[in-house]
């Protein structure tokens, strides 16, 4: 298939796999992930970088993919919600969200879990204040955030205890 005028071949690593796609350089990374790579976990809530529904990790940093022109993602290492755990299992973070009722309609959840992942990667022992700060760029219209905070703190404690038992064993 020949490239339309202006489209470029752009490669980056997504969830551990090198992917190459054809896109206009100003296409939003969010749209390329959803439409071309079938990674529909990231959602569009506002298109302005205010709600965090589109959050992904780009080179280890939490970013709003609705604000990233895909050319700037060339060569980057991207992790989406689909990449947090193998397809048939849930990570401890995801399980904690289930156990604590951290999701209702679920539309904010992929972005919130990515923000939580980013927080826990940087700060494995967050306080409730730290969790609120770390998730301050993510809006939820359903839960009132209490169960979300609980889920993240629970996940932190589960990750910490399996980390210490791993080092013991």
């Amino acid at each position: 298939m020949s490239a339309a005028r202006g489209e470029l071949e752009i490669s980056f690593t997504v969830n551990g796999e090198v992917r190459t796609t054809r896109a206009y350089p100003m296409e939003r990374l969010l749209d390329v992930l959803r439409r071309q790579l079938d990674l529909t976990g990231a959602k569009e809530g506002c298109g302005e970088g205010e709600c965090g529904s589109c959050s992904i990790l780009m080179d280890g940093a939490l970013v709003n993919s609705c604000l990233v022109p895909v050319l700037q993602a060339r060569g980057a290492t991207i992790v989406t919600i689909e990449g947090l755990a193998p397809a048939t299992q849930l990570s401890r973070l995801q399980q904690a969200f289930l156990d604590c009722g951290g999701a209702q309609c679920g539309i904010c959840t992929p972005g919130i879990v990515m923000a939580a992942r980013h927080l826990l990667d940087k700060n494995p022992h967050p306080t409730q204040e730290d969790v609120r700060d770390g998730l301050s760029g993510n809006l939820c219209r359903c839960t009132g955030y209490a169960q979300i905070c609980e889920a993240v703190l629970e996940a932190a404690s589960r990750e910490a205890s399996s980390a210490s038992s791993a080092s013991r064993g």
Partner: protein, 292 residues
């Protein structure tokens, strides 16, 4: 109406030199975009006038911090997260580090850059008052070479700057002389994150023998540009901090600024709060003086 990506040209040269050459070939034709947290919002809303963009994201020459004995040179491509995490910025320029922590949320801080914030030139920008009180200098670069300008001269009017059409900010220079100063900053907005300020104030000062010395006060969202409150500074310089001085400082600050009514706040609210923040700063200066 959404923008159609097919209508845009967007290039990402590998070096600052290549970007600067492109801007020189066709001044005014290519819009620089760094982290995109302002440009992409305009683009998404179909309000971006430019059709050709050139990327500054992650250019090594811009995303760096150089420290000498006398100054810290912050590359214009440093993100707010870079500023928050840099040990010397945190220790010696806490007003800038705290402003960075108040801008947007984590995801925006990982992409928004100091240079982008300055050139976007919103009078509400959180970091800009801190650059005023630190008396920052900017290094501007073009194919014609580099020039150094005082940041206080950079904003010439609402969203207008000194930047020539072929020019970029390369770096922001901060003098390493503020470690002994009392610093104060506060942003007042609808919430702690993801909120554009209704008013923000950054201030630095010292007291010598109980008298106010070398005080600098700057505010955002109270004028068409980020503003140094020089009349207020003059009103308090060399004086002892007592109830009468606090009242005088409050009324001078309220007279000096020109806030407007807009979707976020009103002129009256902004004036009252700016006055309160100036008083709060002077009170913290007074407390620090008593402890010394």
């Amino acid at each position: 109406m959404r923008s159609d990506p097919a209508d845009y040209e967007f290039v990402a040269p590998a070096s600052l030199g290549a970007v600067v050459s492109l801007l020189a070939e066709r001044p005014g034709e290519w819009l620089p975009i760094a982290g995109g947290t302002d440009v992409m919002v305009q683009y998404a809303a179909g309000k971006l006038a430019a059709r050709k963009l050139v990327s500054l994201w992650n250019l090594r020459e811009l995303r760096r911090v150089d420290v000498s004995d006398t100054e810290v040179v912050i590359g214009a491509g440093c993100t707010y997260t870079d500023l928050r995490e840099h040990q010397i910025v945190r220790r010696e320029f806490p007003l800038l580090a705290s402003a960075a922590s108040w801008t947007g949320g984590i995801a925006n801080q990982n992409r928004g850059t100091l240079g982008g914030n300055i050139v976007n030139a919103s009078p509400a920008a959180d970091s800009l008052p801190s650059l005023l009180v630190y008396e920052a200098e900017l290094i501007l670069v073009s194919a014609r070479g580099e020039r150094r300008v005082e940041y206080v001269d950079f904003h010439t009017g609402y969203k207008k700057t000194l930047l020539a059409s072929d020019e970029l900010i390369r770096a922001v220079c901060l003098s390493r002389r503020y470690e002994d100063y009392v610093s104060y900053s506060r942003k007042v907005g609808a919430r702690n994150a993801q909120a554009i300020s209704k008013v923000c104030v950054a201030a630095l000062g010292r007291t010598v023998d109980g008298l106010v010395a070398d005080v600098r006060i700057a505010a955002g969202s109270v004028a068409p540009v980020p503003a140094r409150l020089r009349e207020t500074e003059r009103a308090v310089s060399g004086k002892a901090i007592d109830a009468a001085l606090l009242q005088q400082a409050r009324s001078t600050a309220m007279r000096e600024i020109h806030p407007i009514d807009d979707i976020r706040s009103t002129s009256a609210y902004r004036s009252a709060v700016a006055g309160n923040l100036v008083v709060e700063f002077l009170q913290s200066l007074q407390t620090a003086g008593h402890r010394a």
